[in-house]
Amino acid sequence: MDTDMSGIIFGFLFTVILAVPFGKYISKVFKGEKVWTDFFTPLENLIFKISAIDPNEEMDWKKSMKAMLLLNLIFFIWSFAVLLVQGWIPILNPARIASMEPSLAFHSAVSFVTNTNMQAYSGETSATYFSQMFVFTFLQFVSAGTGIAALALIFKGLTQRQASNLGNFYNLFLKSCTRILLPLAFVVSIILLLNGVPQTFKAQQKTLTLQGDTVRVATGPVASMISIKQLGTNGGGYFGTNSAHPFENPNYLTDMVENFSILFIPIALVFSFGYYLDRKKLAWIFFGIMTLLFITFAAININYETAGNPLITKMGINQSLGNMEGKEVRFGAAASAYWGVSTTSTSNGSVNSMHDSQMPLSGGVYMLDMMINALYGGVGVGFINFFIYIIIAIFISGLMVGRTPEFLGKKIEAKEVKIAALVLLVTPFLVLVPTAIASYAVAKNPNLPWLNNPSFHGFSAMLYQFTSCNANNGSNFAGLGINNYFWNIIGGIVIFIGRFIPIIGPVAIAGMMAEKKYIPESVGTLKAESYTFAFMVLGIIIIVSALNFFPALALGPIAEHLAL
């Protein structure tokens, strides 16, 4: 077996093996049981005291969602304000970077508060060290904490028997940050630092190259950001080229560590479901469904990227490296494709190669991956999205056998199904309608400076953009010119709705289920731990995505592939 494939296979297995016990740890944190990170207790209590929070106060779903929205509103106001005035802040700005223009500041703030990290700015030229730390690194912790806390509310809801309490949002939020994200971020930061990811407050470094050119090299407090960027499925890079940049990702070891970090918490959260509800087998079934699709996607893309671009092969050069446009030699085509599928599965959105330059069907797989947005998924929100597919699968199964559907001993009734359907339909609406508007604008005015690739690929870039915004992914076909009013504002709105509807809807469902009477399983119940149920969920994921998005995908990546 060649060393490219062994790196991927080892990397994935290693991630899963560590994710199982970490899932157990997470469920203990959610339940407030004794864990080794209890040394944070005094610090957390201090924070609760300063904030006048009673961490044991019970919250129902409405109260906890109100708390979440209010907290995120403060995050947004702070970030928007800092980005608007960053150029006037006298400290931590050695390169004298200017303030952001309002639509860019709006887009960047929304994008990072929502864990999306779509970047219409380039870090090294448009963000001061102050913003990198006090806006972006900060938000990468707390937006991830928000998502994880929301999932903890749902877990609690699924175990309640006729009680409305989902736990305390503030408590779950803070502990997700201190006990799940912080320890991991510390370890990963140190590994990255030791491999040459800078952590410095020095200004750009002026170098005189061997050939005698003067080149300025951007640097900064990078190592502390890259760890949480990956672990929190944020994805927003310190530099414009993200994890393709050698200061973010200097060698194959850091690549493996970062790819591990992308997948680790999302996979661990699937197992934490099993430990929290004591349904370990069910967690493995969910993991199996996700992994089946994940591996299929990875196999397709590794195949296309390592085979190389047939149009280049025709030119008669040596194509043994595969499609190298937009890729780095130290990772190679295979690891770049594996990373791409990891980052689009998990709503991370960091890239170690340019997705715009990958083969048409690779790009199509990335889009499909983000349209599903639940194969492990973003921290917290990925499993929340998966929960919606479960509700729909149970509903349809119920229709097929003519019984009121139940899940985990609770009836799923009209109200819950309506909410689930709404959440599911928001995705195609937020992706397809803006893409259509953008396409119309381009067709009407071909001189718009948006597309740097013509034809099918240009359409793909716009479809990818809104897919990524809605999925809160943040990767894009970077050739698309998005730093302008249209993309900043429409994109920002899509990101905002695409974040909060899919959190509030499922938490509401869990809140309603919590209040219902528990009905023990009977002969007529569709057993969750069964192949039938697993196939139903898998089928729903595939059918829903195909019905919603096949026409659009046919116009972009599939058409481009057929024209090769």
Partner: protein, 186 residues
């Protein structure tokens, strides 16, 4: 009102913890590893000439060349070409690079040119080329420097970055380090 106090308190305490103290902690630890925490700077007679992992532009015959760069190796504003795989402008630029390479490396055939030498990297500052990418340049560098090809072959061999633990990832050659060693040969 109470919830405003709650969220403001949480906001500012977490802001200080994650926005300030965490980066400072990593920075403090980095002080113990100055080479690493500064990204492995390379000095020559006291002057900063580059960083081990940041690619530089090489165009002269006497140096091994790195990969094409969409930003001309501007390490203060990095970027890839973001050309789609079927874009005619992209295919033209690759064909153009192949012809350029053939012109400046007489005796080399198309099939000897590896893809990395004619495609733009993701970062625009890729520090590495493939092993074949270094080997194919040996005749040109040897001629320009008046060195034997065997000597250069040995030098390239010494500079092959092996897969991690010999098991994971591709082989590669760091262009800057290779060229620094090359300058020492003469």
């Amino acid at each position: 009102m109470k919830s405003i106090r709650n969220v403001l308190g949480l906001h500012f305490t977490t802001l200080i913890m994650f926005g300030l103290l965490f980066p400072l902690l990593i920075w403090g630890i980095g002080k113990l590893f100055p080479q690493q925490a500064n990204g492995f700077p390379i000095y020559k007679s006291g002057k900063l000439i580059g960083f081990a992992n940041i690619g530089q532009k090489f165009t002269e015959d006497k140096y091994f060349w790195g990969r094409p760069s969409a930003v001309d190796y501007n390490a203060a504003s990095t970027g890839g070409s973001n050309f789609g795989p079927t874009n005619p402008a992209y295919l033209d630029s690759v064909e153009h690079r192949i012809n350029d390479f053939l012109k400046r490396n007489p005796g080399i055939k198309r099939v000897q040119i590896p893809a990395d030498l004619v495609t733009a990297s993701g970062s625009g500052i890729d520090p590495d080329i493939s092993v074949q990418g270094a080997l194919v340049q040996i005749p040109r560098v040897a001629r320009a420097r008046g060195l034997s090809e065997d000597q250069l072959k040995r030098l390239v061999d010494e500079h092959i970055g092996k897969p991690l633990f010999g098991l994971f990832g591709p082989e590669r050659v760091n262009v800057l380090k290779l060229n620094l060693a090359l300058d020492k040969l003469n």
